[in-house]
């Protein structure tokens, strides 16, 4: 007691500052970094914040954001999902497999979500019931889906996407992309699910400590499987929207999204060790990826630097989140 008092009385705010800094960085660093990146880029190239460019960035953000939300659920329960990009491409192929009529839109939507959910279910079952590492389970599902897709399309997908989806993916409502509206709705719904619902609480407890979860009566396996199902379903939705944005379908719609979504989540403070992180943080991570990619071009640097910057940012961000070695 006396020691604590002495510390308080001593006029040495430095110690407490350095002690608190990591926590502060962990909680808000991502948002500060995001704002800083925007400000610096704007200073160099004012066109960065032009209506057209902002609208363009937001349109790119939407599909990534939706995938990141799903990925967040999976990472929270100590997993990761490498199959999201494959699910996205498969959704895009499904979208063109019908006549391209708007009347089929509902059917397409359900087929896509069903495919994504089924993939997630398979991932979740492999991880929980067979105890396969998430990395391998989702890697294998990624490859299987890719093969099935290639086989079904003979390597050259063709056909049309209903105009409804094309509009959803690429049109704007006075500058506000429709697809971003979809992302916002998804973020709110799943944000409530994760941060306000009983299920979300079970997700955090399961991810934070699977043994505790079981001992307080939570069906940890079921919670984990559901997280993979959510991730697969959202990836399918994102694939649908992205195919509408791209317009043409190929077998690689969504390529790179598996790694980008993990990177965004980790940068946003979602811990790979589970049980820690938020959807807001993960979306901020996704926004940074989009902003940095765009900024590289806007300030006139070669486009190849996008990926270099991405690599640097992930290593730096991840090392900031590493918790100091414990006793």
């Amino acid at each position: 007691m006396t020691m604590a008092k002495a510390n308080q009385a001593a006029p040495v705010p430095r110690a407490s500052l350095t002690a608190r800094a990591p926590d502060f960085v962990r909680s808000y660093g991502i948002f500060i970094f995001l704002i800083a990146a925007i400000v610096v880029t704007f200073a160099i190239s004012p066109a960065f914040l032009s209506g057209a460019n902002v609208s363009n960035m937001l349109m790119q953000l939407a599909p990534l954001g939706i995938v990141v939300i799903g990925q967040t659920f999976v990472v929270l329960v100590r997993g990761l999902d490498l199959s999201v990009a494959s699910v996205m491409a498969t959704a895009a192929v499904i979208a063109t497999s019908f006549g391209g009529q708007n009347s089929d839109a509902a059917l397409i939507f359900l087929a896509c979500i069903g495919m994504g959910a089924a993939t997630g279910l398979a991932n979740g079952l492999l991880v929980t019931k067979r105890n396969v590492s998430p990395f391998l389970a989702t890697l294998a599902m990624m490859i299987v889906l890719q093969g099935l897709r290639f086989a079904a399309t003979q390597g050259a997908p063709s056909g049309n996407i209903p105009s409804l989806f094309r509009q959803l993916g690429s049109a704007t409502l006075s500058g506000m992309p429709y697809n971003l509206l979809v992302m916002i709705v998804v973020a709110i719904l799943f944000g409530i699910l994760l941060h306000r619902s009983a299920f979300g609480r079970r997700v955090y407890i399961t991810g934070g400590n699977p043994v505790t979860a079981r001992l307080v009566g939570i069906a940890a396996d079921r919670v984990t499987i559901l997280c993979y199902v959510i991730c697969g379903s959202l990836a399918a939705l994102a694939g649908l929207i992205l195919s509408g944005f791209v317009g043409v379908v190929d077998n690689f719609v969504g390529r790179g999204f598996e790694l980008d979504s993990i990177v965004a989540a980790v940068m946003g403070g979602v811990a790979l060790s589970g049980g820690r992180g938020s959807i807001a943080g993960a979306l901020a991570g996704a926004t940074i990826l989009v902003v940095l990619s765009n900024a590289v071009v806007m300030v006139g640097m070669p486009v190849q630097l996008q990926i270099i910057v991405k690599g640097l940012v992930i290593i730096i961000a991840a090392s900031l989140y590493v918790r100091p070695a414990r006793a």
Binding site: S197, A198, I205, T212, L215, G217, I218, A327
Partner: protein
């Protein structure tokens, strides 16, 4: 050989060691005793270079030293046998023994044949019939412990520290171990021996140092003390202050839980126990006697292969923990961080973790209700914190423990099992936890308290059940309870 002066060490939130002194001579076996949480493990890790002291002097072999890694201490001749094994489960016994000191041939390659031959010799010297090529993961726990000890003898060891080496081995193996330790001592090795079993200390050691609450208490020649002296040095306070006053129990409560002959393969054999309403039943025994496993089996977290668990006459054998909770059974596990708390979450979420659906409406958590409940429990259990939204990771061990007890007190309408409820908790919090346990029993709950601390068992229990090697070996009624009686039952060597 080894001398520590005024060592301080603190971890975030805890002062693990304050002003610690220790002096070990070569050619002696020096006992280190103290209750759980007295600082023995931390002290061990400082000597071994795992932790660095915040201040104080450490000198070894006549020189002041400051290890920066376990490797350095090892090189200087310090070998530690930790309570948790430092073994590689997928390597062979021989490889585990020689890891870091591989047997090599003239070309510098690892000589597997010589490794196995030397290991076989070493094991034979120990009187162990063990295949050196067996994988460690396939060994019994006792054999793994013997491998740990054999490992120490490979090296040119000057100081050997053993932390509870006999926790998982029995009679003949203990004898072999003691013989080896004595001959090592006679060869001039300094040995620090940590144990809860006082009879071992009197049988084996030359001097004893007592620790309490992270502080140095005293060092004595073993011939100059008796058991009672040691216990009073270790406990160092009047027990009557710590435990709530015993009530006069007019009548026996009705049987709430009736466990009949349950079996957990390899862990619990044919265990029967009855718990009565309003009664605190102490479950005593050595570490590894199967007490926690029995608790897990009752709670449905371990499968039983035989026997029945009856709750007020209804069979609830092999239920899931979720069902056990609904039936009004609670389990406070011994491993607070590993099995009890969700460290990332706040008090409110931890208190309601076993009743999530109760605090949610339409699937959404009613945060206001949850905080209200948490505030109630914070007041009720006198949990020191800033409020229901305080993260449990920022709290002291005692307050964390209260959060867990609060959680289970809410749902345990019938039975509450507490496994080592005061481990690593400071004295003040201990007294409070005792008070809470007593209050819960007074409410009519059947309480089962597992503890390795004898004063706690004696001070709290209305009845004591003792386990040894997976069997229930005895029961003591209120009048029969004493430390000697419990120890006698818990350590009695099986007649085999």
């Amino acid at each position: 050989m080894l001398s520590l002066k005024g060592i301080h060490k603190s971890f975030p939130g805890v002062n693990a060691l304050t002003d610690m002194n220790l002096d070990v001579r070569s050619g002696e076996i020096h006992a280190l005793v103290g209750e759980n949480g007295a600082g023995k493990s931390t002290l061990t890790r400082i000597i071994a270079g795992v932790h660095q002291p915040d201040s104080g002097e450490l000198s070894f072999d006549g020189r002041a030293v400051r290890w920066s890694s376990p490797g350095e201490a090892k090189k200087a001749g310090i070998h530690v046998i930790y309570q948790e094994f430092v073994l590689f489960p997928h390597l062979s016994v021989a490889e585990n023994i020689y890891i870091g000191h591989e047997r090599r041939n003239r070309l510098g390659f690892v000589d597997h044949r010589r490794t196995r031959r030397d290991a076989a010799e070493l094991l034979a010297r120990f009187g162990l019939d063990m295949d050196p090529a067996a994988l460690v993961q396939d060994l019994s726990v006792a054999d793994q412990q013997m491998v740990e000890i054999a490992k120490a003898l490979v090296h040119d060891v000057k100081l050997l520290i053993l932390d509870e080496p006999t926790a998982v081995i029995s009679g003949p193996e203990v004898d072999v171990l003691f013989r080896r330790l004595r001959s090592l001592r006679d060869a001039g090795v300094a040995i620090v021996y940590i144990s809860h079993r006082l009879e071992e200390i009197f049988a084996l050691c030359d001097r004893v140092t007592v620790l309490k609450d992270g502080k140095y208490v005293a060092t004595r020649e073993i011939g100059a003390v008796n058991r009672d002296d040691l216990i009073s040095l270790m406990v160092g306070r009047s027990l009557s202050d710590l435990f709530p006053p015993r009530r006069k129990r007019s009548d026996e409560g009705e049987v709430v839980l009736d466990v009949r002959g349950i079996n957990v393969p390899g862990r619990v054999h044919d265990a029967s126990i009855t718990l009565r309403a309003g009664e605190i039943t102490g479950l005593a025994g050595m570490v590894g006697a199967g007490r926690s496993e029995l608790a897990f089996a009752i709670f449905g977290a371990l499968k039983t292969s035989a026997g029945q668990v009856l709750l007020r006459g209804r069979d609830i054998s092999n239920v899931t923990p979720a069902r056990a909770i609904r039936e009004g059974i609670g389990l406070v596990t011994e491993d607070r961080k590993g099995q009890g708390l969700a460290m990332q979450l706040d008090i409110a979420a931890n208190v309601t973790a076993s009743t999530i659906s109760e605090v949610s409406r339409f699937g959404l958590i009613d945060r206001r209700r949850e905080e209200e409940i948490a505030r109630g429990e914070i007041a009720n259990f006198r949990i020191a914190c800033r409020g229901p939204a305080t993260s449990v990771s920022l709290m002291s061990g005692g307050n964390q423990q209260k959060v867990i007890v609060a959680r289970w007190a809410r749902t345990s309408t019938e039975v509450l099992i507490l496994d080592e409820p005061t481990r690593g908790v400071d004295v003040g919090a201990k007294a409070e936890i005792y008070r809470i346990i007593q209050e819960l029993a007074d409410r009519g709950i059947a309480v089962l308290m597992i503890s390795s601390e004898l004063p706690e068992i004696v001070g709290m229990s209305d009845r004591v059940v003792v386990m040894r090697e997976g069997h229930i070996v005895g029961e003591l009624s209120s009048a029969e309870i004493s430390e000697e009686a419990v120890i006698g039952l818990a350590t009695h060597q099986s007649a085999a």
